[in-house]
Symmetry: C2
């Protein structure tokens, strides 16, 4: 029996650890011969662009490097399968690829758009009475997949964001002048990553002084008042703001200029931090700067959370085991048993429960003033950023797996 | 005898390690009683705003935390001493502070503006026949101080930049489309930090494919041609560009590209990365993005270079020893003995040799096409980013020294 695995959607620091989980589980299983990697997500299955992972991942060092390499070593895609009624040809191509390479199981590591592919493909195989099984393994730094307690990749992103915001606090408080630092954090529709900055309170910091999420309405006058209230107490104000905060209610904001559309047709905003910097600068007038954490949030593998990376590997392995047990059309997920001591179990659910849905940050964890999050949120986030891994370095820099170099 | 120490200029990751060096050297010296910290650089001496460091730094853990805390625990200033002819009052205030607290030695940790203060103050004391000694200890992430082989703070900044650019390469090469990523790196007048990204070649990466420094003229047509030439070889192009690259020769750049428009229709000044993103997007047309490494370059202490931090501490100690031996008006510096094995010695020079000068990145290390640096530069940079330190962490995050909390 052969299996295939692919990676999809936006990069994270843990998606190669899940690939490693699938690979290790497959490697030790005597029933499994070839482990194929599909290049650029499902596109590799459509175009018959596969590689034999056993010929690429050969040493124990390769395994270690894979764990510490950000992004997707197999490449990724933003391709979403059409409905089978609209275009059955693409499904036939995929089925042909399964048949040609004698693939029984396909593991798809991705977010909610990828789970849509898991649903559609497993349904197609069922209708066509083909024996192929498809299992989804979650990942996204946005942490917005339903059912699962959290998603692999999120913990490492949160660890990077908290560590960096902590350092920006120090950088912001050197001069004896009033200042406001606005930090823009990823999350177009869900504020999980921005909210996670509250973990700094668990190490005695009062910052960010203010946190704004896309889950609540944004009022610019209230925002200015919030800052002024904090300025009465502190000289250097730190504000964490989600990139998805909706500024469209502000008079004069050119929503068209700020709006963009991604490859799936999702609308998104650009430059919330910069826009707020200008407004605050005009209305308050002290030193204001905005910092965009940009792609570093999703690729800073030098700050991996050990918890995240171990879970990512474990859920990859569990995905393959679930497929071997005969399951298809499922997504693996974490159920949290307790915060402290932190304990989770891996379960599975119909991928249709997760496809195309976004899980928002809970309203119960947003304070009444809608400018910060509650302490309960700290208990949720804290276990996810724990632990460091030992890196294989060369010349002072962490090495990456480049057995399948993409440049 | 009492001594005082202050920190000045822009924050770095190593400036507290130099403070630690001064403190440790002073602490173990039985001749020295109080070690004062001057708050916000020389301003603290003018305004008699000192703290007794022995009452703040009390445990061996405090010393360790100081080493891993970015920015300046004593605060900083951008204040430059006026000429004594213009304003002698400020000098009299400083002398009064020395006298009041029985301070014999003042160690000033800073960049070339701070060395100007060392020069002026030591001259004033000499003329007034006051026995006070003033020694400068260098720091700056820009690495642009003359005489010294390199400056404390630069190595850690270079390590952060190389590690992060390495990760951005992985992030940039996931999709099967042509892309250009422009990374804007600090250095207004000197390209050292941007040039240091060449160390990635020492771990087998071909990136950045292109490197542009403020030391050479910038030609936008040549820039576009350079990118197109690289695109013939690679799908994902990485360009490192110094924030100080001069775009003023580009027709229309002031109105169209550098001057952005925010969500309110207000024009604002863009960084070179954003400006080049717009130009490249217009003229080449594939996916283009710019990433600004922003203040993270100077405050990401979680990626300290052990070499940098040990040298920063050593040169702080050496500064105090030099003052105890009777020197004044001097700046401590590193002389490199060899690249491999890496060896340096600490020497001293008249601070006037360093004040107000900027050391540019050497032309001999820039390639003929002015779009990259030579391999000799790798040998220079590589020793500076070596080694990691063990962090004291709490709840998964590196802790900071907050005995003198500034917020």
């Amino acid at each position: 029996m052969n299996i295939a695995v692919a990676q999809s959607g936006g990069p994270t620091c843990a998606i190669n650890a899940s690939l490693l989980g699938v690979f290790r589980e497959g490697y030790k299983n005597s029933e499994i011969d070839a482990i194929f990697g599909s290049i650029n997500g499902i596109e590799g299955m459509i175009e018959d662009n596969l590689i034999n992972l056993k010929s690429i991942i050969r040493t124990s060092e390769d395994l270690e490097l894979l764990r510490q390499t950000p992004s997707t070593v197999l490449g990724s895609c933003r391709y979403k399968l059409p409905d089978v009624d609209e275009n059955s040809e693409v499904y036939e191509k995929i089925a042909k690829c399964f048949e040609k390479h004698m693939i029984d199981i396909f593991i798809y590591i991705g977010g909610n758009d990828s789970m849509d592919t898991v649903v559609k493909l497993s349904k197609y195989f069922e209708i066509k009475k083909l024996p192929y099984r498809v299992i989804g393994v979650p990942k996204t730094i946005d942490n917005d997949l339903p059912i699962t307690d959290h998603t692999p990749g999120f913990g490492s992103a949160a660890k990077y964001v908290a560590t960096t915001v902590h350092e920006i606090i120090r950088d912001s408080s050197v001069y004896s002048i009033d200042s406001i630092t606005i930090i823009e954090i990823m999350g177009r529709h869900a504020g999980w990553l921005t909210a996670s900055t509250c973990v700094l309170r668990a190490i005695g910091e009062e910052v960010p002084h203010l946190i704004y999420l896309p889950e609540t309405d944004f009022d610019i006058d209230r925002f200015i008042e919030d800052i002024q209230r904090e300025q009465a107490k502190h000289q250097a104000i730190i504000v964490a703001v989600s990139e998805g905060v909706d500024l469209s209610s502000i008079e004069g904001v050119q929503t068209d200029a700020m709006a963009g559309v991604d490859a799936f047709g999702h609308k998104f905003q650009n430059g919330v931090g910069k826009a707020l910097e200008h407004i605050v600068s005009e209305r308050i007038g002290c030193k204001v700067r905005s910092v965009e954490l940009n792609v570093m949030q999703r690729c800073s593998s030098h700050l991996l959370s050990k918890t995240d990376i171990e879970e990512a590997e474990a859920i990859g392995s569990a995905g393959l085991r679930a497929a071997l047990e005969g399951n298809t059309g499922k997504m693996m997920y974490f159920q949290r048993i307790s915060d402290s001591p932190y304990e989770t179990v891996i379960r599975m659910t119909d991928a249709s429960n997760c496809a195309n849905f976004e899980k928002k940050f809970p309203t119960k964890w947003i304070n009444d003033s809608k400018n910060n999050v509650t302490d309960d949120a700290i208990d949720y986030f804290l276990p996810l950023i724990q632990g460091d891994i030992n890196f294989i370095t060369q010349n002072g820099l962490p090495r990456h797996f480049t057995g399948l170099k993409r440049s």
